[in-house]
């Protein structure tokens, strides 16, 4: 991790909003002064999570339904903390689409004029939403939400999209045939495609930095965030933290953790100071779109009974309706 963090701090530090002391203490077991989460802090954070869980033992002992680990990971985004510095965009590029270019290009605020979406070369983007009646603007980082029951993985006919038990939804280009049904299925439409690659196009989306996390490092965007708007950790612990922040500072947040239930739950969770509909988040039901299609599909084809019955029925029709003259 050779990211030149100290350069950022002067410009970002002054823009950093004052955060309530209570929130800072509760969410960070040891108060940080550096403004960035290092690997050491990450270890500490997860240690604290483990301790909390050991004490309360809220998590089920084994894996959960759907083959997911109880300690699967996610990221909590506190939009009230985000300053829109776009360092996460740079770090993501650096990790997934190098070369990332100059870091100071992030200071270009003109990109906020239009609403952007993740693309095949920029897997995460930050958009700015003006505040209500001159209030502070909100900055929203978007990327693959890593659903708990991902529609893309349910849609893929060759298993190129897969929900890993540890949380991330992973794309395997070696299986992909390029049908893009995953993109049709994604309730957020966040996956994107390398349309300009004529021969070996890939579906591109956030993979939650598997190379980094397997080394015990934080995902690139989480690591670079100078204001700790992003917290990486166990999903259940992140949810606990999120609700505690809402409880502690009810004036600061709307009482809604986006991603807790949306589309059956997502690994990325968001806290905000205004309704999520004003921040470009789609309004989604609490079940995964895949639940319905899988129910229909398995309902019709369970044990292949319906097709076999239809075959038998048609054979019977063919026999019974036969003209005796013809059969001779």
């Amino acid at each position: 991790m050779s990211i030149p963090l100290p350069q950022l701090l002067p410009s970002c530090g002054s823009a950093r909003p004052a955060t309530p002391a209570a929130r800072t203490e509760r969410t960070r077991p040891r108060a940080h002064r550096t403004g960035a989460v290092s690997r050491r802090d990450f270890v500490r954070l997860t240690g604290a999570c483990a301790a909390t869980l050991a004490a309360t033992s809220v998590a089920p002992a084994g894996g959960e339904a759907g083959g997911l680990d109880a300690d699967r990971r996610g990221v909590l985004v506190d939009l009230t903390v985000c300053i829109g510095c776009r360092r996460c965009e740079w770090a993501c590029r650096n990790e997934s689409n190098p070369p990332a270019g100059e870091l100071r290009e992030c200071d270009d605020q003109s990109v906020f004029r239009s609403r952007r979406r993740p693309t095949s070369t920029q897997l995460t983007v930050v958009n700015r939403y003006p505040g209500p009646a001159g209030g502070p603007a909100a900055h929203v980082k978007t990327q693959c939400m890593h659903c708990e029951h991902p529609a893309c993985a349910s849609a893929c006919l060759v298993g190129a999209m897969r929900k890993t038990p540890t949380g991330p939804v992973i794309y395997d280009a070696a299986r992909c045939i390029g049908c893009r049904y995953c993109m049709v299925a994604c309730p957020f439409q966040y996956a994107s495609y390398e349309f300009d690659n004529a021969l070996t196009p890939q579906v591109r989306k956030c993979q939650l930095c598997p190379a980094r996390t397997s080394r015990g490092e934080l995902p690139a965007c989480v690591a670079i965030c100078p204001v700790e708007a992003l917290t990486y950790g166990r999903r259940d612990e992140l949810l606990r933290i999120a609700h505690e922040r809402i409880r502690t500072c009810p004036d600061r947040y709307v009482d809604h953790v986006y991603g807790e239930h949306e589309a059956g739950g997502t690994s990325w969770l968001y806290l905000a100071d205004r309704p999520f509909t004003e921040l470009g988040f789609p309004t989604l039901g609490s079940s995964s779109p895949a639940e319905l299609t899988e129910a229909i599909q398995h309902g019709i084809f369970k044990g292949f009974a319906a097709p076999v019955m239809l075959f038998g029925l048609l054979a019977a029709v063919g026999r019974l309706m036969r003209d005796p003259k013809e059969s001779s």
Binding site: R115, R117, T119, S120, A151, S154, A155, C156, L157, V158, G159, R175, C176, I177, G178, C179, R180, Y181, M183, V184, A185, P187, F188, Q189, Y190, A191, Y193, E194, F195, D196, N197, A198, L199, T200, P201, G280, P282, T283, L284, G285, P289, A290, L292, T293, I296, Q297, H298, I300, F301, P307, L310, F311, L314, A315, V317, G318, M321, R322, D323, E326
Partner: protein
């Protein structure tokens, strides 16, 4: 199958001025197709991250499958319900299905970003059983094979007794002849199994094609988004199958200067109001049941599209075909069949394309010239192949008389 009256091959002129025009369209489509494979999807199409599926999936694949439904519907009526009077319609409909599904496969391949990996669908360790698309893909592949098997007797009939291999291969004539006879005899014994299999596979994937878009959830407009989509896709396939047979039969009669089989087509047309009625009532009940009926009046593009689909594509042909006078008139029969086809095509377009809105604002999708070119080219190629086979194989009953 063996009881079919013989329809023998004839050779009127293949090329007419109209056919030259169609050939030109096919050639232009071929050029667009070449550009797609050389330059890639991005260079040739207007597809985007917001609209990952476009014209090719909506027309070449979704409409292609629906409009090839004449194959299994006529096979069912003639071979399983044994309505012998419809036998003359079976072979043309089968030919349409063979060509139609072949081009569905080509259309899918053209749309696949990694088309060279298409065979992954056949590898059991790649299979993902939750995927609706997996079921569609396997079914369509199997059905395409079944269709070719169903077509083999026509090939046998064409060549048995007149195998003329070129040059030194002529020595093999007798062997080829024997193989064909053997094949024809064994196919005759098992053909019923393939016909039933064809109907089952058709019901499976025609319905699953509707299930495909259920996973798009709120991205598909509530006028079309319903868990009943598979049922509606199947019912509308039942409607459009006979309509396509009537449409093609009348066009082929005109093109080959034959007397249209008005009597049989009129009788086939009697089925359509019943099927359309079930489909239409089902759609209305579903809209009311989901509380989505008011969207019909919302005055949006979607409501207009729905009105066109339902009014012109369901109610109008239903009313038309209830009248015996319309069923006896070639012109009105053609009009009614065209309306049913229009309704189903618009329905597939609505479900796969026009009713789809990405949750992130994206530039509207308008297909590129090359996308239209490929689609038009595929349709032109199908017409050319149909004409060639119809003129050289015993498919269309009436061509025998023309020849003699």
């Amino acid at each position: 199958m063996t009881a079919l009256p013989l329809a023998s091959p004839t050779r009127p002129r293949y090329f007419t001025p109209g056919v030259w025009v169609v050939a030109g369209v096919a050639l232009a489509g071929g050029a667009a197709l070449l550009a797609r494979y050389v330059l890639g999807l991005g260079a040739v199409t207007n597809l985007s991250d917001g609209y990952p599926w476009g014209l090719w999936i909506a027309i070449d694949v979704a409409c292609g499958v629906a409009l090839a439904a004449g194959g299994f519907t006529t096979a069912f009526i003639a071979h399983l319900v044994h309505r012998e009077e419809f036998h003359p319609l079976v072979r043309p409909a089968l030919l349409t299905a063979v060509i139609g599904y072949t081009f569905v496969a080509l259309g899918v391949m053209t749309d696949l970003g990694r088309f060279w990996a298409m065979w992954h669908v056949m590898l059991p360790w790649m299979w993902q059983g939750n995927s609706v698309l997996f079921e569609v893909a396997i079914c369509v592949m199997t059905y395409l094979t079944v269709l070719y098997i169903e077509f083999l007797p026509i090939v046998c009939e064409r060549f048995i007794g007149r195998v003329r291999l070129p040059g030194p291969l002529a020595r093999l004539d007798r062997i080829a002849e024997a193989v064909l006879r053997r094949l024809d005899a064994s196919l005759g014994r098992v053909m019923t199994v393939f016909i039933i299999l064809g109907v089952v596979l058709s019901c499976m994937h025609q319905s699953s094609l509707g299930t495909l878009m259920v996973i798009a959830g709120p991205k598909l407009h509530p006028l079309w988004q319903t868990p009943m989509l598979p049922m509606f896709f199947l019912l509308s396939a039942f409607c459009v199958g006979p309509a396509m047979v009537i449409f093609e039969s009348l066009l082929a009669a005109r093109s080959f200067r034959l007397a249209p089989e008005r009597e049989i087509l009129g009788r086939l047309a009697r089925l359509i109001p019943l099927l359309l009625g079930v489909y239409g009532i089902g759609k209305v009940i579903d809209l009311l049941n989901r509380g989505a009926a008011l969207h019909v009046l919302e005055g949006s593009a979607a409501s207009a599209l729905f009105a066109a689909e339902f009014g012109l594509g369901v109610i109008a042909p239903l009313a038309l075909l209830l009248s015996p006078r319309a069923r006896r008139s070639t012109r009105l029969l053609l009009l009614a069949a065209s309306l049913v086809i229009f309704g189903v095509v618009l329905n597939r377009l609505n479900v796969f394309l026009l009713g789809f809105t990405p949750p992130i604002e994206s530039a509207a999708y308008v297909p590129s010239l090359a996308e239209f070119g490929v689609t038009a080219g595929f349709i032109a190629m199908m017409v050319l192949i149909y004409r060639f086979v119809a003129l050289n194989f015993p498919v269309i009953e009436g061509l025998k008389e023309v020849r003699s």
